[in-house]
């Protein structure tokens, strides 16, 4: 193989090239990647081997999401062979999801990418921070950007969706926290005996005790040290299967489970037609949802507020889902690709 110049590194648009063609040429995308060393071709200079990633179409990454990282390309191409947007989406999604949870999505060189192996402020919020290993793990937003970027490499547009709690039936936004599965509520079947701390409250009967300060769950607390709730394993996030550090308690579970909001991705249109399947893709948990109600039933244990006398204390009132759904999906055009 001869020398490749950096100027030559634009995406090749011939998805479905036979596997053998991927074995001997070099790479990928504009302006990124390990620098290609220029070498003079000379007898005895040896040979190098680099994969060629061939995508379905021109990429549609907006400028703010560039440069195109090799991991985006790897996630876009998968094992190759896709000849439609639907097939390309399925190939990409299979690297995020087993169909029923996270598939332990990995970088181009096989590194696992974890969802909340640490607290909020030690986690990536951008895809490039995640794939380069700048942070050891990531928030949901970084995984949403990562999935959007991988789809965009194949020319597939997607919408960034902000998931908020919104107490119903009162209209308008509110600032309820999302308490993500799984938790045991005192007095419930299979949970510690007892009664809620606020039995006279109409809905928000349960006391959730978290850390004081700006991170409710990190440093980690003992699973039974959350007031009326007990922290249980799951829902698993990307990389959770690797969380065998004894500090993670319970194991195989993201560190953070109380959120102001969550970020997922919607794919509304594929191959020029409305996407008939589940449109909402949650790359952090490897789950898909048909609707807001589907998100609540699969992911939410409860909703939490700090009442006036709890401000600054780390204590919350928690309600279990009741007037389903208390979830709103809000598209954000500024973060869509």
């Amino acid at each position: 193989m001869g020398t490749l110049s950096a100027q030559f590194l634009t995406l090749l648009v011939i998805y479905g090239l036979p596997q053998y063609a991927q074995s001997s040429v070099a790479l990928f995308a504009t302006g990124f990647a390990p620098p290609i060393r220029r070498r003079r071709a000379s007898p005895g200079a040896g040979s190098s081997s680099n994969p060629v990633y061939v995508t379905l179409a021109d990429n549609v990454l907006p400028e703010w999401a560039k440069p195109i990282m090799l991991t985006y390309v790897k996630l876009a191409v998968g094992n190759g062979g896709a000849t439609s947007q639907a097939a390309a989406l399925a190939s990409t999604w299979a690297q995020f999801s087993t169909g029923n949870g996270p598939a332990d999505v990995r970088t181009w060189d096989g590194r696992s990418m974890s969802y909340y192996a640490a607290g909020f402020y030690s986690c990536a919020t951008r895809a490039w921070e995640l794939v380069t290993g700048l942070y050891p793990s990531a928030q949901c937003g970084a995984f949403a950007y990562l999935l959007e970027s991988a789809l965009a490499v194949n020319g597939i547009h997607s919408n960034w969706i902000t998931v908020d709690a919104e107490h119903q039936p009162t209209p308008g936004t509110s600032w309820s926290m999302l308490v993500i599965r799984n938790w045991c509520f005192v007095g419930a079947n299979g949970c510690p005996a007892g009664s809620p701390t606020y039995p006279s409250e109409p809905d928000y009967k349960y006391l959730l005790t978290t850390n004081i300060g700006d991170d409710p769950m990190f440093p980690q607390r003992h699973p039974s040290d959350f007031g009326d709730l007990t922290n249980l394993e799951g829902v698993g996030g990307q990389g959770s299967a690797n969380m065998r550090n004894p500090d993670f308690n319970p194991p195989y579970t993201p560190v953070e489970k109380v959120f102001a909001r969550h970020f997922i991705v919607r794919v509304l249109e594929l191959d020029g037609q409305l996407n008939a399947g589940e449109q909402y893709f949650d790359p952090s948990y490897g789950l898909t949802y048909p609707s807001e109600g589907g998100f609540e039933s699969r992911a939410v244990s409860g909703y939490a507020y700090q009442f006036s006398y709890e401000v600054g204390t780390g204590e919350w009132h928690v309600s279990r889902p009741k007037l389903s759904p208390n979830i709103r999906f809000r598209p954000d055009p500024l973060r869509s690709m």
């Binding site: 919020t125 921070e129 928030q139 102001a260 970020f263 507020y305 006036s308 709890e310």
Partner: protein
């Protein structure tokens, strides 16, 4: 038989509600407040109290009393203490000093405003001759509040001013056309968690018959509240700083 009966009676009678000071926990300080002339400093006491509820549950609570010497009005908060007193001592004093809970003193009453997941308010009209007397009166009032607090906690009688929308099942009336201030008040748009501990009530004035509050976090919000603590209007005054750029660093 007589002994058994007495024992049964003793076992079935609810425990008396009790509240008592925890020795050597009281401290004095000053916290920011406002009156019609502007910013003022209000003397405050902070101590721990042991609370026994009628059904037998016991809790340690932090009692914070804020006193206005000019009028004698006082306000008390009975709140959860920190489980780690060495790292987070006297939580409620910290909340008051950071202007997350601020008292406005009028000629006829004091209004306590608390800013968290919502804006809460309550009218206080009892008076005391001194801070010491206010602390004693507050302990007596905590004692009276215990039976209700056992089911819903202390301070549930604060009124929600729905600047940011609803909070739980707090009753509140939205003014016609009011759009709740979004969570972007607290949150960088890319962040999944938004602590409210940087929110503060910058100022409270009373032009005419309304209270005007200036709230600040990522941007400023002006809130007008009526005499009955009803929300009249809220509007965003400034734009948030642009998120700190985190550009891809490689050339």
């Amino acid at each position: 038989v007589r002994t058994t009966c007495i024992l049964l009676i003793v076992l079935t009678v609810p425990v008396d509600a009790q509240v008592s000071r925890v020795a050597s926990t009281e401290a004095r300080d000053a916290v920011p407040g406002f009156d019609s002339a502007g910013a003022i400093s209000l003397p405050a006491a902070n101590l721990e109290v042991d609370v026994t509820f009628p059904r037998g549950k016991k809790q340690v609570r932090e009692l914070t009393v804020i006193f206005h010497p000019g009028t004698g009005f006082y306000v008390w908060h009975c709140t959860p203490p920190s489980s780690d007193r060495s790292r987070h001592p006297r939580l409620r004093l910290g909340v008051a000093k950071a202007q997350r809970a601020v008292v406005f003193v009028d000629t006829t009453r004091a209004i306590d405003f608390i800013l968290g997941d919502g804006l809460f308010a309550k009218v206080w009209q009892r008076r005391a001759a001194s801070l010491d007397a206010a602390v004693s009166s507050s302990i007596a009032e905590v004692h009276q509040a215990i039976p209700i607090a056992e089911g819903i906690g202390f301070g549930r009688d604060y009124q929600l001013v729905p600047v940011f929308g609803t909070v739980g099942t707090f009753a509140a009336t939205m003014p016609l056309g009011h759009t709740p201030i979004s969570r972007d008040f607290l949150c960088d748009p890319d962040q999944a968690f938004c602590p409210n501990d940087k929110s503060r009530i910058v100022s409270i004035t009373k032009p005419g018959g309304q209270y005007r509050l200036l709230l600040r976090n990522r941007f400023d919000v002006e809130v007008l509240v009526g005499e009955n603590l009803e929300l009249i209007s809220a509007r965003q005054l400034t734009q948030p700083d642009a998120p700190k750029p985190r550009p891809f660093p490689f050339k």
